[in-house]
Symmetry: C2
Subunit: 112 residues, 2 copies
C-alpha cells in the first residue's frame, strides 16, 4: 500500500517473493484483486498490455512517459470542478475516474 511506484502484479510478486519465497503468484493476484474490489487500491488500465496498481486511492491523475515508461502522479490541480460540471450536464453520477496523460517527461525531452 505504501509503494508509490505503480507496480504491476509481476513486480509486486517479485517483491513479495523476495521476502517470503513460499508465496505464489496466484496469492498475489487474489489479494491485489481483493484490495481493488474493496476499494483499498486502484487498478490503472493503460495502453500497455499489463495493468499497474496504485495503493493511493486519493483523486489524482497519472502521467506516463512514452519514452521511458515512467509513471508519475499528478496532484496539483483542481479535479472536482470539471467532474461536478459533467455530472450536472449529463445527469450522471461519477464515482471514480482514471486520467492517464501520455507524453515525454522532462528528462526524455532533453535528450535528442
Amino acid at each position: 500500500m505504501s509503494d508509490k511506484s505503480h507496480p504491476t502484479i509481476q513486480e509486486i510478486y517479485n517483491k513479495v517473493h523476495m521476502i517470503d519465497s513460499t508465496i505464489g503468484q496466484a496469492t498475489v493476484y487474489r489479494n491485489v484483486n481483493k484490495l481493488v474490489s474493496s476499494g483499498k487500491a486502484k487498478k490503472l488500465s493503460t495502453n500497455s498490455e499489463v495493468d499497474h496498481y496504485d495503493g493511493d486511492i486519493s483523486n489524482h491523475y497519472h502521467f506516463i512517459c512514452t519514452s521511458c515508461n515512467k509513471i508519475v502522479d499528478i496532484f496539483n490541480f483542481d479535479v472536482d470542478i470539471p467532474i461536478k460540471d459533467i455530472q450536472k450536464s449529463h445527469n450522471i453520477s461519477i464515482d471514480n475516474f482514471d486520467m492517464v496523460l501520455y507524453g515525454k517527461c522532462s528528462e526524455c525531452n532533453k535528450s535528442y
Copy 2:
C-alpha cells in the same frame, strides 16, 4: 471510422464479417492496430478486460456506466486548461490523454 459505439475488436470483426465473410480476425486486428499506431483511431483502455476503439480522435472524455457498461462521449468541457497547467508545472509535454469516468448513467440511476 464513423462508428460512434466504441466497439471492441470482436464487434468490429462481427460487423466486417457480415459484409465480407472471407475476412478473418487477424486482418481486423492488424488493420485496427495500424489505424491506432498511425494516429487515425484511439484505443480505449478501460477496467474491463477488452479494449474498445474510437474512430473519433478529437479531445474528449469517456464515461462508462458500471451498471449497463454503456460508453458515452463527454465533449462539453474545456480540457485544454488543466492540460496546459500540468505541462507547465511538471515540465512535461503531453501529447495525448485518456480520461475514463466511471459511475451510473441516468437510466441506471433511476432503477433501484
